[in-house]
């Protein structure tokens, strides 16, 4: 790579931007998605806070937003991004869109993992006099922790993918780095560098996730 010196700082900057977007999305979107997923799980028929109407509303919202391809979503949410973040370009603006999109994706993954918790254990906790919130946070989540960690690891990979898309709308990060310095300058080795970096990131995340999940499952 002949122009390595000139793009070195951009490369490291891009890694930091990607990490910032992924970590922020996993924390903010992860928590919001957890709450939304808990809402979906607990309001379903026979759930701890069974409520047909709330469940239907949550379900419809998630079903509407989740399937929107992220590249469309990130532009469609533009006006809201402008209001909240004051701009529609740059890493912060992209991160906002990422957080919102991830919330809906994560909520389904959380719901799917929580429904696998043995209803008998939930009943046992209720029989001991635990209220619904108590049961959710001290029984349901701990019981589903292993699968939840794997679910979040899966989401990590999806979010890395989404950050690359955010690069297409000037969101920064490795995606934009690969497009601006690799694709548009016909510099294939820059593209390859971005790809390898992303592979390493994903591998590290998957390894960490697997290790934590194994610990939670004690297997």
């Amino acid at each position: 790579m002949s122009d390595w010196d000139s793009i070195k700082s951009v490369y490291f900057q891009s890694i930091l931007e990607t990490l910032f977007m992924v970590v922020t999305t996993l924390i903010v979107g992860g928590l919001a998605g957890l709450l939304l997923g808990l809402g979906l799980y607990s309001t379903r028929a026979g759930g701890l806070l069974a409520n047909k109407w709330v469940h239907t509303v949550l379900n419809v919202i998630v079903n509407i937003i989740r399937p929107i391809p992220f590249i469309i979503f990130v532009t469609a949410i533009g006006p809201l991004t402008l209001r909240v973040m004051g701009t529609t370009i740059g890493t912060s603006a992209a991160t906002f869109a990422l957080c919102v999109a991830a919330t809906f994706g994560i909520s389904r993954i959380v719901e799917q993992n929580l429904v696998t918790v043995d209803p008998g254990v939930v009943e046992a906790a209720r029989a001991m006099g635990a209220g619904p919130w108590r049961v959710l946070f001290t029984v349901v989540i701990p019981e589903a922790l292993g699968p939840l960690i794997l679910g979040y690891t899966f989401i990590f990979v999806s979010v890395v993918d989404m950050t690359a898309v955010a690069g297409a709308v000037a969101g920064g990060g490795l995606g934009q780095f690969a497009i601006s310095y690799g694709y548009q300058r016909f510099n294939w080795s820059v593209t390859a560098l971005a790809v390898v970096t992303i592979i390493v990131l994903v591998q590290l995340a998957q390894f960490t996730g697997n290790t934590l999940a194994r610990k939670a499952l004690r297997r």
Partner: protein, 370 residues
């Protein structure tokens, strides 16, 4: 005896997508403080719903339920939680939290009840020793056998010193030997701690082994109830008789009598039921003393129920017709519940003393005096 749990005309209707389903109706039941009360029924009879009415996991749609003198029928969920802490519950599938150790499982209800850390530690240690699992405190439920899991379940249910323990098919997932261990533990819970136990089961052996009183639930209704002695001695409803028969084998299997008869064409089969083992001895003495009659015991058995031995046996009597009839008469004098099952060829022409028609209807009460 004070009443601890009372159902008055209680009913439960579930609203399902295919319309209302009646799970329980017209339940009138009083369970006394300190007793072991069993509810027996086939699956789908409504047993699990019935036991869940006691701690409000299910609410009645009709009638009332009292626990410790409190009408829990319309108690709001928040207040119900404090009632639930007075009632322990164990389950068929144990329902332990896999993410918590044995210690964590037993400590959970104590944390809910806001015990201090030191008190929790003392109590869990005490409970672990009570159920004999002291060495397993830091083990996860997945590493325990079924019997050990149920012991943890019992320790957890007893943690807050409840006055009532609900046992929902608590031994149905266990092998016979482990079942006996767990039943023995439940008996200790009842005797040493004075806890009232409500046992839900489909196994008459569980009733025989630990219950003081039993109620039979069939299709959502209580069809019969009484002390375990009474029910074993004189079951009335067909369902009750089937349950009792699983232990006493009073009623022969279909075709059993025919096979016994076919093997001894000349003999007359007479069945004797009793709640007094001495009576069996007297019966044998009577027929043994008759030199004209030979006899053979072809089926039967005696089981220990609470305070008594209850059982039945069937003898094949053979000899001249008059002698067999005479022997039958003497048997009836000695034993209250003697009856002829089939008549052998050798005795076909003699009128039997107070002959019963049997074997036509499978549910005909064997030994019931008409």
């Amino acid at each position: 005896m004070t009443t601890q749990i009372a159902f008055h005309n209680a009913g439960k209707v579930f609203q399902t997508s295919s319309g209302p389903v009646t799970a329980l109706e017209k339940i009138d039941l009083e369970i006394d403080k300190g007793e072991i009360f069993a509810v027996i029924g086939y699956s789908g009879a409504g047993k699990s719903t019935l036991v869940r009415l006691i701690n409000g996991l299910e609410r009645v749609t009709q009638g009332t339920v009292f626990v410790n003198g409190i009408d829990i029928t319309h108690l709001p969920e928040g207040k119900l939680r404090s009632v639930r802490r007075e009632i322990g519950m164990i389950f068929q599938q144990f329902n332990l939290m896999r993410s918590k150790t044995v210690y964590g499982n037993i400590a959970y209800p104590l944390k809910l009840a806001k015990w201090s850390k030191a008190d929790i530690q003392a109590r869990v240690t005490e409970l672990l020793s009570f159920v004999g699992l002291t060495s397993k405190a830091w083990v996860y439920p997945d590493q325990l056998s079924g019997g050990q899991k149920q012991r943890v379940g019992i320790a957890r249910a007893l943690a807050t010193r409840p006055s009532v323990l609900l046992a929902d098919e608590s031994t149905s997932a266990l092998d016979p030997e482990t079942t006996q261990d767990v039943l023995a533990l439940l008996r200790r819970v009842n005797e040493e701690l004075g806890v009232t136990i409500v046992v839900i089961t489909h196994e008459m052996e569980v009733v025989r082994a630990i219950a003081d009183r039993v109620a039979v639930l069939d299709s959502g209704q209580l069809i019969e109830g009484g002390s375990v002695d009474e029910i074993f001695e004189n079951p009335k409803a067909a369902t009750t008789r089937r349950f009792v028969n699983t232990i006493t084998h009073y009623d022969p299997e279909p075709g059993e009598i025919e096979r016994l008869q076919a093997a001894r064409p000349g003999a007359t089969l007479v069945s004797i039921r009793s709640v007094d083992p001495a009576e069996f001895g007297r019966c044998l003495a009577v027929i043994g003393a008759d030199s004209e009659v030979s006899f053979e015991i072809v089926r039967g058995g005696i089981v220990q129920v609470k305070t008594r031995s209850i059982g039945s046996f069937t003898v094949a009597l053979d000899g001249p017709a008059g002698a067999v009839a005479r022997a039958e008469t003497s048997l009836r004098e000695v034993a209250g519940l003697a009856e002829e099952l089939t008549r052998g060829e050798h005795a076909l022409d003699t009128p039997a003393p107070g002959r019963h028609e049997l074997g036509e209807e499978p549910d005909a009460p064997i030994g019931a005096e008409k």
